[in-house]
């Protein structure tokens, strides 16, 4: 136990912040990139470089594609040990079809679920996904990785480490530690108001780094608290699965009650039925939204119990013009097109929950706010990175005298996290532009290979950071910081150049055509390269100054 409350809070801030800071930095950085995940997708998939499209006709475009879809091999493999007896050869019973788009998506994501008759848990099934050009219905190759929404976005909440859901748990604990670090940070610092305005870049490194750490922490405190907190709330069902374990009977009671009151069948009837025109249902839904003064586009189209008499179609509105993540769904009987239900006005709790969730996931259209989200996220990164540097600067001379390796290890991990993460990100973008469209047989799918190269780039940055860390053990700076800044600058500029060479979309063209999704990614990469050059030059000057001081000391010794 600690001497005082403030001691306890300081200990928590330092050690939990250090231990989980590496994960938190990844969450904040990739979360910031996820704000523009759809735009990164367009950069990574040149075939998708056209304007966002509304939901296309179901009857003419989507239905033939859905009827052609099959469960993915990956999904079948995942299901293999969850069936009684052998895995079926065919999956003829469609549980659901869905199509999802936003105001930033040129391509349309489709998903389908299929019943597995001999599944141990009847609710389990297999799934298939497809991404199409909504103008023609033509499919994108299965192994095209959506680098933004398919990789960087899940990376920020799961680390793409799905074994036993461990990635979600690590990120969840890190998010809790972010909240702890914010509260303990406020407790530790008595001059909270003064820290809004205090940054002394000309002072010693340790002082100016601490100023920057405090300033970033207090300036964006509500932003950081909100995102860490709502991130925890969004995944609370994973961390506390109370409703599907201890309270399962109560949940089941609610499900039955809900099926009765909503009129939306919980199960299939087992009687085949045709599908009426879904386009007519969409028109009726849009008419009803317009009548309520909220005319809008369709964001999600969902069909349950496809081909069955109990089948129904749900049409949800895109949340482009509101913060709350709501769909105002209208549900139709699939076989007749009769309206079964219109979602009722939201309760107070639901309004609060959808507002908080919507503010985190930002499906709404507001480009300035979107840019400010990135700024807030990057301020979080600066706060965490300066925390690492302060930790090292405060201890490295003392550790050098004592012959301890603590500062050296923390510094190498900080290099890995800060510049290494940028190197990994540039690696996946470069790989995306350099890998051929089709790979030789026996190679991993193209999208998987891009991800492997991302991790390989990160591991290489880590190896370099540790390899070059010896000077820290004698109280000197690690040259890996400077060298990796140069690497980031070169790689970011290379990614922009490769985009030009492989697609013809250079900056003059994309800016001239105001095609901001691609121009924005290129411009961000160039800004990143310029900042990396500035940082590398400053670090080189500092290294030279430290070197001359050391030589003077040696001469006088």
């Amino acid at each position: 136990m600690f001497q005082s409350f403030r001691h306890a809070m300081t200990w928590l801030h330092t050690w939990f912040g250090l231990a989980l800071g590496f994960v938190l930095m990844a969450c904040f950085f990739f979360g910031s990139l996820s704000v523009f995940d759809r735009e990164i997708d367009r950069w990574a998939i040149p075939a998708s470089r056209f304007a966002p499209q509304p939901m296309p006709s179901f009857d003419k475009v989507l239905r033939p594609v859905f009827e052609d879809m099959k469960p993915s091999q990956q999904s079948i493999e995942f299901m293999r040990d969850k069936v009684n007896g052998p895995m079926p050869e065919r999956f003829d019973t469609v549980r659901n079809w869905g199509a999802y788009t936003t105001h930033r998506d040129p391509m349309l994501s489709l998903f389908a679920g299929y019943v597995v008759p001999n599944a141990k848990n009847p609710d389990d099934g297999v799934r298939g996904n497809r991404t199409i050009d909504p103008r023609s219905g033509g499919a994108l190759p299965d192994d095209q990785l959506k680098v933004g929404s398919g990789f960087l976005y899940p990376l920020h909440y799961s680390l793409t480490f799905y074994w036993k859901g461990l990635g979600f748990w690590i990120v969840g604990f890190a998010a809790l530690m972010m909240l702890v670090a914010l509260v303990t940070g406020v407790v530790m610092h008595r001059k909270f108001f003064r820290e809004f305005f205090t940054f002394r870049p000309k002072k010693a490194v340790q002082r100016s780094v601490l100023d920057l750490h405090n300033m970033m922490g207090v300036l964006a405190l509500p932003f950081h608290f909100f995102f860490a907190f709502t991130g925890l709330v969004i995944f609370a069902g994973i961390y506390f699965p109370v409703s599907h374990t201890q309270l399962e009977p109560l949940h089941e009671l609610h499900e039955q009650h809900e099926a009765q009151t909503t009129g939306l069948p919980h199960d299939r009837a087992g009687v085949a039925a045709p599908l009426a025109s879904v386009d007519d249902m969409v028109r009726e839904a849009q008419r009803r939204w317009a009548a309520k003064g909220m005319a809008g586009e369709v964001g999600l189209l969902s069909l349950r119990h496809v081909g069955d008499a109990n089948g129904y179609v749900s049409v949800f509105r895109a949340g482009t013009d509101r913060i709350a993540l709501v769909g105002d769904g209208i549900h139709f009987k699939a076989s007749t097109g009769e309206v079964l239900r219109e979602d009722p006005p939201r309760t107070a709790v639901d309004s609060l929950n959808t507002f908080l969730t919507g503010l985190h996931l930002q499906h709404f259209r507001h480009w300035l706010l979107r840019c400010l989200y990135v700024l807030g996220g990057l301020m979080g990164c600066v706060c965490i990175a300066t925390g690492f540097i302060f930790f090292v600067e405060k201890r490295k001379k003392q550790h050098a005298k004592q012959g301890r390796q603590g500062s050296r290890i923390v510094d190498a991990l900080a290099v890995t996290t800060v510049t290494g993460m940028l190197i990994a990100t540039c690696t996946i973008l470069i790989a995306n532009r350099l890998l051929p469209a089709s790979l030789p047989s026996g190679w991993p799918p193209r999208g998987d290979l891009e991800q492997y190269l991302f991790w390989a780039g990160w591991v290489a940055a880590m190896a370099h950071a540790f390899w070059r860390s010896a000077p820290v053990a004698s109280g000197q700076p690690n040259p890996a910081w400077r060298e990796q800044c140069w690497a980031v600058a070169a790689m970011a500029a290379t990614a922009v150049g490769l985009n030009w060479i492989t697609t013809g979309d250079h900056l003059l063209k994309t800016v001239g055509e105001a095609y901001w999704p691609v121009a924005g990614v290129d411009l961000s990469l160039l800004v990143c390269a310029a900042l990396a050059v500035v940082a590398a030059r400053k670090l080189a000057l500092r290294a030279a100054a430290v070197g001359s001081v050391n030589r003077l000391e040696a001469a006088h010794a």
Binding site: M1, V180, F229, S243, L247, L250, L253, E258, V349, D350
Partner: protein, 75 residues
């Protein structure tokens, strides 16, 4: 443990009082996460470890049992 018990009891309790199940669940999560943060900080600042265990394990178990008892009355 304490947060689990709180979420279970608050969900069952608010459902029993007439709130829609998922509303009760979401409100319990919102409050439960704030409770988790508070209790986590307190656990490190508390003067006696025995008191921490009593509140976390004892309070959590008590609320979880009460939630199950309430559920058995409702189903």
């Amino acid at each position: 443990m304490l947060t689990w018990g709180f979420i279970a009891l608050a969900t069952a309790g608010m459902f029993a009082l007439g709130m829609e199940f998922h509303d009760a669940e979401h409100l319990s999560y919102l409050l439960g996460m704030l409770l988790y943060l508070t209790v986590f900080l307190w656990a490190f600042a508390a003067p006696r470890l025995s008191r921490v265990w009593l509140v976390l394990a004892g309070g959590g178990a008590l609320m979880a049992v009460l939630a199950s008892l309430l559920q058995s009355q409702l189903t």
